[in-house]
Amino acid sequence: MLVTGVVQGVGFRPFVYSLARELGLSGQVGNTASGVVAEVEGPEAAVTDFAGRIRTAAPPLAVVSTVAVESLPVLGGTEFTILDSTAGAGRTLVSPDVATCADCWSEFTDPSDRRYRHPFISCTNCGPRFTIITGLPYDRPATTMSEFPLCPDCAREYADPADRRFHAQPIACPACGPRLQLVQPGLEPAHDEDALAVAHALLVDGAILAVKGIGGFHLVCDAADQAVVTTLRKRKDRGDKPFAVMAADLGTARRIAEVDADEEELLTGIRHPIVLLRRRPGAAVAEAVAPGNPDLGVMLPYTPLHQFLFDQPGPGVLVMTSGNLSGEPIVTADDEAMTRLAGLADAWLGHDRPIHVPCDDSVVRIVDSTELPVRRSRGYAPFPVDLPVPVRPALAVGGDLKNTFCLGEGRLAWLSAHVGDMDDLATLQAFERAEQHLERLTGVRPELLVTDKHPAYRSRQWAERHADGRPVIGVQHHHAHLASLMAEHRYDGEIIGFAFDGTGYGDDGAVWGGEVLLTGYDGFERYAHLKYVPLPGGDAGVHNPCRMALSHLRAAGLRWDPRLPSVQACRGPELDLLEAQLAHDIACAPTSSMGRLFDAVSSLAGVCHRAGYEAQAAIELEGLASSDRGLGGYEFEVDADQIDPGPVLAAVVRDVLAGVAPSVVSARFHRGLAELMVTLAERVRAAEGLTTVGLSGGVFVNKVLLSATTRALTGAGFAVLRHRRVPPTDAGIALGQLAVGSRIR
């Protein structure tokens, strides 16, 4: 029996061993280059049972891709043995990092256990993997644990096939493992329990701590303390961008936010991502944690060290934000943490187990009981995506914001962990290190490079600089969005693709973003798009939704009524300058961006005029949408391939001037958009016979829109593809670039 998938370094051989023993089977099990090979003999019923349970009862971290069964002559053995690994060229899938498991937690809290309160407790079912592996084959010397020789007790567990820690590479105990250390400027470092006591006292006192996690440092402070959260915001140069929080336990999470069954499963599962939850009114969380945001990003402790932060009376909810300067990648090395976070943290709680590669927390939202990945990183990367089409060995470099890249070969695609925004030198350097690491882990040797078509994308420039004779292929931004969606659904065919986002470089040089594309891997037809309006001042237009509102009004022939909130927000010289800018077409780019239409409506409704972080205006507009389904949608006008938002803007203006509440304007806008999509999809179905609709692009992080659109399209008889494994944002486009650019035809 040959089992392939994530089956090595996850306790698969001990699992097979105990399963065989339980069923009274003899034989052997071993690792080979292509997977785990088990040979068993015994009563037929037991062998059948064994074959079934290999799939259904596999260890938590294992992912069984295929099981190939072959009959062999009976040997008449009586023993079951575990064979040593055989080396060779092959592909082992590396497991993501996993939250501390229930077995480890119970040892952690058991005073009689030798790992009682051990901060580095882990087993084959949990703990760091991806972030500590320096190379393959995955064995202790190829991890950052290589500098901690095992004590006799740990060595025995490590060698015992019946033990939960058989070949658990991160294994450690208080006698042989890493040690905690707390550093405060000007004071002697404190260690172990002393370090924890000091850290706790500092948190209670309203200090900001840098705490070393699995994939990097966090900045941590009391989430209920408005003053310290405000200080952290200032030190990080963070604008109004929400901070994530860590709640002591599920009960605490429930007190600050609404948690349904699916969300609970995510919060407490093996990945422990940040889950975006609806904040409870009056939650004991400072306003500065997520200003103006109806949601809270919440996670639960996923390492013993996190648990320690809550084990004495004190803050039950902590802000936990990536330890970095605004725009820089998360800090992983201790010395770097001391220098780079010098202006940010008051003290450093770390340890001597090095982090080999950074891995940020993942962010997930539940929409209609289904996962919607917002950031796919810790717990998910580097698990590969199965492709519906084979690809040449290639590297797709992704986009410039929220960058991830993707390596692929054959039918496997490895989407990287979150890298960050490529404006920053440190991020560019992190990109290179992460890319080399992932090449090492996957064995993919890219023969070609795939990029976005934006000439100024630094990711694209990087690819051109590093091509070294290999072809560099450009893929249109929204084509990549939709191809990533098709790829994650293992869909091979053509779809009616709605690619709605903020900005993507269009084939005509304009800024696209409200696109209806009839899409396959080989190409797309631009069936319809939002009518172009000027984006005044490029990035300046993006940061100032009120200007976008006025640009939209002008394009729709609507006057700048001084009673409108957008006009009031732009009062004075800004209004005059904007008028001149639009009239003279100074630094204006034509755009069909749906993100910018959201900005315009958000500002017109008086919700948000200045965006301090990406998509702020749209997020706030979505957040206050009335759930009354009886409200009629605003109507777009569609003329050939032009979607004209003019009538929508006119109706918004009418409603706003009539004193209609922003919650109603928001709901009618969302509904109108969902109805527009149904109208367009029906048109395509009638003309082309396509019946599958795909929704991709950053706009589809919007829960209200995604849910309403899915319902409306499904009701109209369409099959709907939406993202559940990779983000709909630019963090997912590398997968689509790969599928389009390196597909073997």
Binding site: G399, A426, P455, A456, A540, I586
Partner: protein, 329 residues
């Protein structure tokens, strides 16, 4: 238009079409002016064409630009401009009074810069085939003994100095061309830099690099230097002398002052030991009174220019490609 913007497109045009066609060792340096030995003197030689709109703007005209542009190109090799040639291409129908004013400005600028207009040429093209007036000038000057100024000489440890406030000319041109006021009037800083350079050379003959950051701005010039010399350049954002009016206009238009054109400004890359003396000399000259150290050459990230922000992050400043397009999603 992108090919004339001074960014990556014009760099490609020059590298792929012109350099191969003219290939010779003097041209290979691709500096603003050529430096070579003729007989027993070292000469700098340069030419430039002026196609600016509008022809007249606050602080100057195309006539001033045509003199100062070439004088400055020569000065960036350390040479004192001695003689200029001047070619006018006039569009049929352009008013004689306009040509007269430009000629007067040109003569004026030549006197101020201490250079003689020694030869000239005039052509007339059909109406609709030119933008009123185009001017080409070329100039020669002597390079003092011991002076070797070229982009390849930047080395890690060198200090980057700018002679004054940046972005002023570009915003002045834009505000006139588009009829937009950005608050107080912005006046172009068009000026001849040969005097300032002479003052600098008097205290430090070993200036490594000089550059006038015209089209494409400071960012483009520094990227060219970083690539030619194979060094990294790190700027300090808070040290950049950007006047408030320019900063406001740029923030409104979504532009970065580092990419806005300058006239009458220079970038100097000088040995660290001599930086204080050079800076003091510059500040003693009227065209260098706002001179400031804005960064340094480093070993890290060769060929790349970055700015260190007030919060300590390092943002990459690359060569602009055509017009600036948003990258935000």
């Amino acid at each position: 238009m992108g090919h004339g913007g001074g960014g990556q497109m014009s760099a490609e045009l020059i590298e792929h079409l012109f350099v191969p066609a003219f290939a010779n060792p003097v041209l290979d340096g691709l500096t603003d002016s050529a430096v070579f030995t003729l007989g027993d003197v070292r000469l700098a030689f340069s030419t430039d064409s002026f196609v600016v709109q509008p022809l007249f703007f606050p602080g100057g005209s195309i006539g001033h630009l045509a003199v100062n542009g070439t004088v400055n190109d020569l000065a960036m090799s350390g040479a004192q401009a001695a003689y200029l040639s001047c070619g006018f291409i006039l569009e049929e129908g352009v008013e004689l009074s306009v040509v007269g004013r430009i000629a007067a400005d040109l003569g004026d600028a030549a006197r101020r810069a201490g250079v003689t207009v020694a030869t000239g040429d005039t052509k007339v093209v059909d109406a609709g085939h030119g933008d009123g007036v185009y001017i080409n000038t070329a100039g020669v000057g002597l390079v003092p003994a011991g002076v070797d100024i070229r982009p390849q000489r930047a080395v890690p440890g060198d200090v980057v100095i700018v002679s004054g406030q940046i972005g002023v000319h570009g915003i002045a041109i834009m505000s006139v061309r588009e009829g937009v006021s950005f608050g107080t009037e912005v006046v172009s800083d068009c000026a001849p830099l040969n005097g300032l350079v002479a003052t600098m050379l008097a205290v430090c003959a070993d200036l490594h690099v000089l550059r006038d950051p015209t089209r494409g701005g400071v960012a483009t010039s520094l990227n060219e230097i970083a690539k030619s010399a194979g060094v990294g350049i790190e700027l300090t954002e808070s040290a950049l002398p950007v006047p408030e009016t320019v900063a406001n206009a740029c923030s409104f238009l979504g532009l970065d002052p580092l990419y806005v054109a300058n006239e009458g400004k220079l970038l100097a890359i000088v040995p660290r030991d001599e930086a204080d003396a050079v800076l003091a000399a510059m500040r003693s000259h009227p065209l260098g009174s706002d001179a400031a150290v804005i960064g340094e050459c480093v070993v890290a990230h060769p060929g790349m220019v970055v700015t260190r922000t007030a919060f300590g992050a390092t943002r990459v400043v690359d060569t602009p490609i055509g017009e600036q397009l948003p990258r935000i999603c």
